[in-house]
């Protein structure tokens, strides 16, 4: 009984959350020009949310989360090119495809130590990248998948040049999946994940089926990442081998870390901050912004990322109570 009450209290909608979503949807009515970048932020936020499920809640460090992004993107792109140009069908297919891959690879991820997990996650992403490169007839190889055209969303809204429909589509997907993520992490299941992250041995001694829980959350996170990949492929009408690259996996780690891992809005906050950072850096040194990203990462960790994001989070929590 007590657990149920505590969970219900945690799961309550806070004012700041409601205001945030209202503002995000209100941004749809901004004058044209900002929606392309907003769309990018929404997709990046979804990708980071998916990483948060395994890193922030279950404590699995992944160096290859881009595997699911890429698979989702190729699945959606290929479907649009060869079968149907309905975006929602593509989104569903990409989610299922990525979830299947997540389920299949979760058995490898469960094994061994942090070191083997780093190797396996990185290896799976590189394996898929090689695979996409080795099948140029299907994937377009190094040139990328071209000629992806999308039909109108729900048969009603054509994707426009300014990205307004794209942003609405991505934001709605992000919102729906955020509802799913909320339901998951504020459930006894979510609590057991956090127990596993804190102390796996003790969690299993308490009767938590550690392996089953990790397989479930890894599959779910993969599905979310696949959805992000589908959105990216559909709204930009392009997929390339770059989707599997290591820098994608590293970037999403960075996004989640600057927003703060282990709370649901970390990915969204991180995506906003990251885009702002990238914008600012690209204005100064377009060619070498990766250097500054690297320097930022080093400094961020050296200064103590928990102190930095914890402070920000505390501020937001006080603000939104």
């Amino acid at each position: 009984m007590w657990v149920g009450q505590a969970l219900a209290r945690r799961a309550r909608w806070r004012w700041a959350e409601i205001v945030f979503w209202l503002a995000a949807f209100a941004a749809l009515f901004l004058p044209a020009g900002r929606h392309l970048i907003l769309n990018e932020i929404a997709i990046l936020a979804l990708f980071a949310l998916s990483l948060d499920l395994i890193l922030g809640y279950a404590g699995i460090i992944s160096l290859g989360h881009a595997a699911f992004l890429g698979l989702g993107a190729y699945a959606a792109g290929l479907l649009a090119k060869h079968v149907t140009d309905d975006p929602t069908v593509g989104l569903a297919l990409a989610t299922v495809a990525a979830a299947s891959l997540g389920f299949a690879t979760s058995f490898l991820v469960l094994r061994g130590s942090d070191l083997t997990r780093l190797m396996v996650t990185l290896g799976v992403a590189m394996l898929l990248g090689e695979l996409a490169n080795a099948l140029p007839d299907l994937t377009g190889g190094a040139d990328g998948l071209q000629g992806v055209t999308m039909g109108p969303l729900l048969g009603l809204f054509e994707f426009d040049l300014y990205g307004r429909v794209a942003y609405a589509y991505s934001l709605t997907t992000l919102f729906v999946l955020m509802l799913v993520a909320r339901a998951v992490v504020y459930s006894p299941f979510g609590l057991s994940l956090m127990a596993i992250r804190r102390n796996r041995l003790r969690a299993s001694a308490l009767g938590v089926p550690v392996h089953k829980r990790l397989i479930a959350v890894y599959t779910l996170a993969a599905a979310f990442a696949g959805a992000a990949g589908a959105l990216l492929a559909q709204t930009t009408a392009f997929v390339s081998l770059d989707f599997f690259e290591f820098h994608r996996s590293a970037d999403v780690l960075l996004v989640l870390i600057i927003g703060g891992a282990g709370w649901l809005y970390g990915g969204i906050l991180g995506a906003v901050l990251y885009e702002a950072l990238q914008d600012a850096l690209a204005a100064v040194t377009p060619e070498y912004w990766q250097f500054w990203i690297g320097l930022f990462l080093v400094a961020f960790v050296m200064l103590g990322r928990e102190r930095l994001t914890g402070g920000m989070r505390g501020l937001l929590a006080r603000f939104g109570r």
């Binding site: 942090d114 960075l254 690297g294």
Partner: protein, 284 residues
């Protein structure tokens, strides 16, 4: 057949020299350093610069590459890395990814993005027929040099005072400190030697592996495989893992070019399914 085996062994030996520093820092000290390849790249570029601009002969460049990478490693260890030993793995991952990004774009800025080549001296090029194999002289040179290094490392780790101090410091830093072992210094020297060996590997390998600013990213997975498959209890495991990886990679790319690049990953997955803690590992 025998020639491919030999090339694979040479490739594997090279991987071992590149990764053995990581086998100690990541395997023994349990510190995740994804930036290990950056030290190898530093050694490679030091060689390129010395040979091209300084006219230094190749053989003299090898110790120089070792020194450059070792000094770089020592400086970074003393200033940055040592604060990271006690942090979580996630912090270590983020920190070292940051270093990799800086190394990659810093090198692009300084040296350009193109592939660098070194000109081997004439006596190291060409092939000879030996025991029915076509043996590349340079590869034979690598096998001999790296083989000697591997034996030296194993003896150094198991039969010297420094080796036992290192093992003691790794097993329990507090007790080791209590016994008067200068743990910080031992770690710093180990880190420097490991980085130096990576630098040497980078210098030796630029001919075979290619050298460009993306080097640390391209070989990150190989280093992780060597350490994870080899297990974390010494350098013998990583040595055998390197040979296995080298042979599998070369043979795969030769016999089945269409899927050759996958062989490495398939080996990795197969080993992991059969032995989750590596070929020679023990659960910790």
């Amino acid at each position: 057949m025998a020639t491919i085996l030999f090339d694979g062994v040479a490739y594997g030996m090279l991987l071992f020299v590149l990764a053995c520093g990581l086998a100690v820092t990541l395997g023994l000290m349990n510190f995740v350093n994804l930036a290990h390849g950056a030290f190898a790249m530093a050694g490679g570029y030091a060689t390129v610069l010395l040979m091209d601009r300084g006219g230094v002969p190749f053989l003299a460049c090898l110790p120089a590459a070792f020194l450059v990478a070792a000094v770089l490693g020592l400086v970074l260890e003393r200033t940055l890395y040592r604060h990271m030993y006690r942090r979580s793995h996630l912090d270590q991952v983020l920190f070292s990814i940051g270093l990799v990004f800086m190394a990659v774009s810093g090198t692009t800025w300084a040296m350009g993005a193109s592939q660098q080549t070194i000109k081997l001296p004439a006596w190291l090029t060409g092939r000879v027929d030996m025991l029915g194999m076509h043996v590349g002289i340079y590869r034979a040179f690598i096998v001999i040099l790296c083989g000697l290094l591997a034996v030296g490392l194993q003896l150094g780790l198991t039969h010297t005072r420094f080796g036992s101090r290192l093992r003691a410091a790794v097993d329990d830093a507090r007790v080791a400190r209590g016994l008067g072992i200068p743990v910080g210094t031992v770690f710093a020297v180990t880190f420097a030697v490991g980085s130096g060996l990576a630098g040497l590997g980078g210098a030796l390998g630029s001919e075979i592996l290619g050298l460009d600013p993306n080097f640390p990213l391209r070989f990150m997975i190989y280093f992780l495989i060597v350490v994870a498959v080899g297990g974390t209890s010494g350098v013998v495991g990583p040595f055998i893992a390197s040979l296995l990886l080298g042979i599998a990679d070369v043979a795969g790319k030769y016999y089945i070019p269409a899927i050759g690049a996958f062989i490495v990953y398939l080996v990795m997955i197969a080993v992991l399914v059969l032995r989750p803690h590596g070929l020679f590992g023990r659960p910790r």
